[in-house]
Subunit: 479 residues, 4 copies
């Protein structure tokens, strides 16, 4: 008996994908099993802003399964998977997939729509049916944290600056939304902020903003930096890129990687995962580095370490992983071989100087297929650029697999529980998740991999000076 | 300046893809460079039957560049890439992409159309403008070889059997085409066969048919078995599958392979490439084998070697690579874990007993997306099956990359040259390509990989008892 | 022309080995080149206590080449290489190998001799020929630091406790030496301590003692913890053990590692290097872990992770790397297979419970060769134990290769320079070497490996918020 | 209770080592278990000539355990392990280690002694106590085969040439022995030869001699070429060298291989194993090749492939594996870096031109330790040469581990059984061991590695066209 995808509603299709993802997100499923009865988030009103994908759907439904009331927006106008959003909104009316979680996101929002929707995650109703603000935030990049802090700032100032006070198109929308809000209720954001126990933040960028806010004295409540957990950073960077680099190159080009010479710019965690990814396919990998320690690690791992200039005219594949800018520049493009492949898996699209490439006299850009272009030089040489220099694992592959996100999101759930239930233990400031919770996230992913963990005896724990249940390492341990 | 794919004609799009592929097919391009002036195939009329893809387009245009007159059909009703066919037909009127090579193939032919088109590759016109048959065949699976042999057989018998003499739907079409032909010209195939210098055959199946025909005394001309060249078999099997196995799994499931337990059934060349592919992504690979030598090799390579039954309920991914049938059966499916992934990269779709799976009481098949299905068991357990048990590197990825096909097709070109120019040196029979040509194929792919080859001194060659130019190894050398 | 080892004096033989080692210790040689003229250690009187090996000889001669006056004892009664000591004492009268550095060490000292010699490193003569104390200490394990601190403590108390106040045989000797000293000069140690700018300590154990002393308020001068530099810990642990684990097993047993099942207990840096070492030889490696993060890392690296009990009766090789005790116990030995091989590369000999093994009724220990024993069980089963449970890379191989020690010792030299020239910048306490010096150590080893380091542009450095010359990473970066 | 090596007799020490080796030679032990009762070699009188080592002792005692009467000499004047010989001679009077097998070998024989002892392996006594010749030979290099063939030749000619008819010192001894023998009994060798069912030969060299003898028509009985079994050649070459290359380099130099650049000359089986060995330690491996197929394999395996000249002045380690001569020559030595390490694991000592090195003007050779020399150039540059250019795995390590020899020797035992029991099935000629026996050797080594072998169903075997019990592959299958 066949059952066609075409026959499914959007929500049903989303539900099918969510069920597939749940199996690959054992950390979140373990949270449901462990805390489903205890309901530690009973009473929590969580305002969330994070890419509305299938994986996020599993996160949302986990928060709900732990007792939380949740409202959700996306943190990016393009990244919403509409079937994921639909499934979360519909729910199944069961504990694992409860009905009716409000989601304010769709693929291809305008900036105006984006900020209108962001505002909606603050509009809870409390148990008695009265309007209420959230008491915890879960943020990715810091947009709803910004909205709230700016709201408080302008309410205090008594005035919201006019939209034409800024050139930033996006901030114009923030001002518009806040002006409208303050007109309705001049204390709304101040009231909401007073009820917030804290925020957990997903990304480097968001964390950076929080540290700056704390330094300048404007941070309104404690924040947990989920980004620097070992189980977040190693998975997002090393293991995630080992998975998605060859995946992205394969889908984009169908070129055989084996036997080719691939240059990986940078040997941090992303570079380490990328180099392993390419070597696993039989490529000969050359690394470039600016940090002598990382360079020495690359050499000890058996990689050739060169300057980009030394290999620019002989390598077949170039991948930037540095977190820096202007790594591959127009002078490099000019020296590359015909049909060299160039991509970025680092952070922003400025690792590769796309603007510089476009300015080379006579160069013409041709689309081979979406996210894959060949740049034709006057002499006929062609260079293949992936995802226009943006992250190739997002543009040419499908981003992080669910198992990676499970690690990251289990950190989020633990942070939410800690913020909600132990708010008094968190001073104002930006906190890394305690190591025992980082270890807990790892622990929750072991069964799915068939790992048996050994348990310390009391005597052994005493010998090491640790608790039998951990944490086992000092904070500066490097793993 | 942008240049959109959408603005291209089918032929132009094909031409763009052909140019990309040419770079990855250095063996063929080297043949053009080396023999372009010499025109060793001048006078050759090559009838070809092989999947009409972009890579085949590069092959066809190489044969033409060497002087041949070529007519082409596909060997599979589904595999034609229409833009490749269009580009070859249009050509560019240059030496590298000459205008007007007739191609008789499109995606989605009926069986009747398939055999009608196959017949057309025999209808050459000679230099004087008179009708003529081919003088060399290039076959994949043996269909045009069959047509010709059956034609001769029926002409000799003076009668073509009626269509209802067979239950085989495909052979009915063969009989129809031959009946029509014999009616027109009762000596057509006999005449053509007399002019054929030989056939080069691409596949195991086709080679097997040739050996059988030779054994039973019905083979009409010499045949070259391209399939067993080292540069064909290692690339098609070991390196090709290293490339495409993880590619197929990634595109199909987006599941993280790292940390998972993957079972590779069989440790021949396909299994060796598959195991390396999965290990390169951080999976823990377990091998099953029936041949003690291959099993010992797997163990010495650091893999766990178990019986399928021993690991059926703990592994996450199962891949068949055996060349045998009934490897994964219904009793295995019943014991697998929820969301186990099952695929075949071996040969036929009978490595996995799909029929047995479908017969398990209460099991329901749901499409997740094309070529990816979950089979839901009555207890809710789901098993994910790729490409319905057919070759996952074709169904879920894009088959062999161009570099692999370059090795295979350069063997074909060398075989065609040898058959056409040295026909007298080939006795009736099935011949492996001489080792020096196998070495030549390898040699033509070295520059593209930046390989520097060392040359023997005369003294060293004498010491080894070989020629400076090779061949370097005995025929039974195992590589 | 042959030149026999047998014809060499001990010092000449040491000199030959020193020259071989110098090539493998590029960090130290670079220090000589860079600072040889500048003489930053001019005026430094360095009292050193560290294994008197060939590598240490290169360290000593580097300190001297930088201007220091050096006196040296060993930190272990067994580890002295007499030819190394001889060569250092003799010197060559050149800058690189100056004549006359006093070394107080020989292989096989008694405890009494050991402490008598340790005292001698404090007996400098200043530029004017007057008796003087050292002004910097370089310690491994903290013995000369202990001698000095105890001396000061007892001088303050006005009395040295009698030898029979302790059961510790070694501390009896300390008391004997100090009693003699105080009798001669009741302010000797107090005077010396006042002139000390600081100590650099090599080991975990020594560092631990320093932290305890600082916590209890008895630390007399600043200390630099060399042990936790990345270039020290990764080399000593991960890369060093990758080298020496298979080396030790090979020399001890000549058993083929390929195809065997090897259990690595612990997946910290030592475990990571050990697992890689065994996998590189074709073994199938199984890891045991107590820390869920490290266990997850092992799984993501493709290793099976089990409890020791689960694999005790099937594995061929067992290696402890934990830093903990009682990892392999008598109940484990009893379940192992015949001719299982057991060794420790962790820290102390208590990782394997040798005492428990010896107490198993009826077990008999037989020497196969030095440092390799088989323990014969009453049923005839034999277990092979390496180095009697002590560090197998020391007992069965030759310890860390020179390149590893070059990293460690370059940290020492930089620490000595910093302590001597910037003493005022070091508050009382235990300091990790600043990251820019850690990076410097790495930098000095790159040329020897043919590594080309990329340099940041000013703009890139600004973008990252770092200096062009580094340091490049935050202190908690995990590498 | 301790038990000292020093207290053991030579034979007892040999016995201890034999028992350790037996565990690592599961193929031979399985032969004893399977055939111990059946006694297939009952009545066989085996004359053996093969290095008299511990592993050979296990072979000899296996032949005896299967019923054979055995007499043994060595095939090399230096390679005898006297404790192995002593143990075999003494035996234990049990089935597994029977008393009284005559061994005619000791370490350091003269050439005269060597050939006197070789003759003694022919002097059996039959069941009735009468003098008898052997009925099967087991040879390594062909010396006893030579003695017998020359004896027959000279007996036929009626005269043994005088010793001064040859310049070859070794052949003089052959002539001496045969002259003495013919004087005693002019038909001795002719009689013996008539009773010989065949010879099994271990090495390439011996096999080559046999083929030549067969071609020229002088071969007297069938021969089995054990050398080309998969289980012999892959183990001796690929896996054996993976084991022993790094072992040899480590023992010789204690230099850290990780991070170094190592050049492997040749990528046949020895080269493949060597490259893997070095890569497993973290070296960056560069391959040189003359065969384009092997070169392409190296590239596809991720190695850089260069000409020796291109990397001669940058690499740290050079290893020859070619089977050819004059690979590393004086002009190469002159360009190498200071303290480059050079060794040969190929076949003969002429892969490295040691004579050319010694002739470089001004170069001086110094022994660092036995089998490790530094060659000092006039400018002070030193090159380290291992084992004087001879096989470094023999000179610097301990040769093949027992597990490798178990594969090789199990082939020998099976060959002996086949020759003795199925002599009529072997025509005169040189035969490779049938594939089913090669598979059998592999099968007998699987249990020791914990391998579970899958069994074909009858239907699957029929589908493949093979027997359920094998053989599974065609003769030209490449593995």
């Amino acid at each position: 008996m066949d059952y066609k995808v075409a026959d499914l509603t959007l929500a049903d299709y989303g539900r099918m994908e969510i069920e597939l993802a749940e199996h690959e997100m054992p950390g979140l499923m373990a949270m449901r099993e462990r805390y489903g009865k205890e309901q530690p988030l009973k009473g929590a009103r969580i305002a969330g802003s994070l890419h509305m994908t299938i994986q996020t759907a599993v996160l949302i439904e986990t928060l709900v399964a732990l007792g939380a009331d949740v409202r959700w927006a996306t943190c990016n106008i393009f990244s919403t998977q509409d079937h994921a959003a639909a499934a979360v909104v519909v729910g199944q009316g069961t504990q694992d997939a409860p009905a009716g979680t409000p989601v304010f996101a769709w693929k291809g929002e305008t900036l105006a729509e984006y900020w209108d929707e962001a505002e909606k995650v603050f509009a809870f109703t409390d148990a008695e049916g009265n309007p209420a603000g959230p008491n915890v935030l879960l943020d990715d990049g810091g947009d709803i944290t910004l909205l709230l802090h700016k709201g408080v700032e302008f309410e205090k100032a008594g005035v919201v600056p006019p939209q034409d006070s800024t050139d930033n198109e996006e901030f114009k929308e923030v001002l518009r939304v806040l002006a409208r809000s303050v007109e309705n209720d001049p204390q709304r954001w101040t009231t909401i902020a007073a009820g917030i126990k804290g925020v957990s933040e997903e990304t480097t960028t968001g964390v950076l903003r929080l540290y700056e806010r704390f330094k300048e004295g404007s941070l309104l409540f404690p924040a947990i930096n989920v980004n620097d957990s070992v189980t977040k950073s190693k998975f997002d960077n090393k293991y995630g890129c080992r998975h998605s680099l060859v995946d992205g190159i394969n889908r984009a080009t169908d070129v055989m990687i084996g036997g080719k010479v691939a240059v990986v710019c940078g040997y941090g965690d992303v570079g380490k995962g990328s180099a392993e990814s390419l070597r696993g396919q039989g490529a000969r990998v050359i690394v470039t580095e600016i940090d002598p320690i990382c360079a020495l690690q690359a050499a000890m791992d058996g990689y050739e370490v060169r300057r980009l200039e030394s290999v620019i005219d002989t390598a077949d594949i170039f991948v930037t992983t540095t977190g820096n800018f202007d790594i591959i520049r127009s002078e490099h493009f000019e020296q590359m071989k015909h049909q060299a492949i160039v991509g970025n898996i680092g952070h922003f699209d400025n690792e590769i100087d796309m603007a510089g490439l476009a300015k080379i006299p006579g160069v013409v850009k041709q689309e081979i297929k979406p996210q894959v272009h060949q740049w034709v030089f006057p002499d006929g040489k062609k260079i293949i650029v992936l995802s226009e220099g943006r992250l190739l694992n997002l543009g040419n592959a499908t981003g992080h697999p669910s198992f990676v996100m499970s690690n990251s999101f289990t950190n989020q759930v633990l942070a939410q529980i800690d913020l909600f239930t132990k708010a008094d233990q968190y001073e104002l400031g930006v906190h890394v998740l305690p190591k025992h919770l980082d270890e807990e996230v790892a622990r929750l992913h072991l069964d799915a991999l068939g790992v048996e963990l050994t348990e310390l005896t009391k005597e052994q724990a005493a010998y090491l000076g640790v608790d039998v249940a951990g944490p086992y390492k000092s904070d500066h341990y490097r793993y």
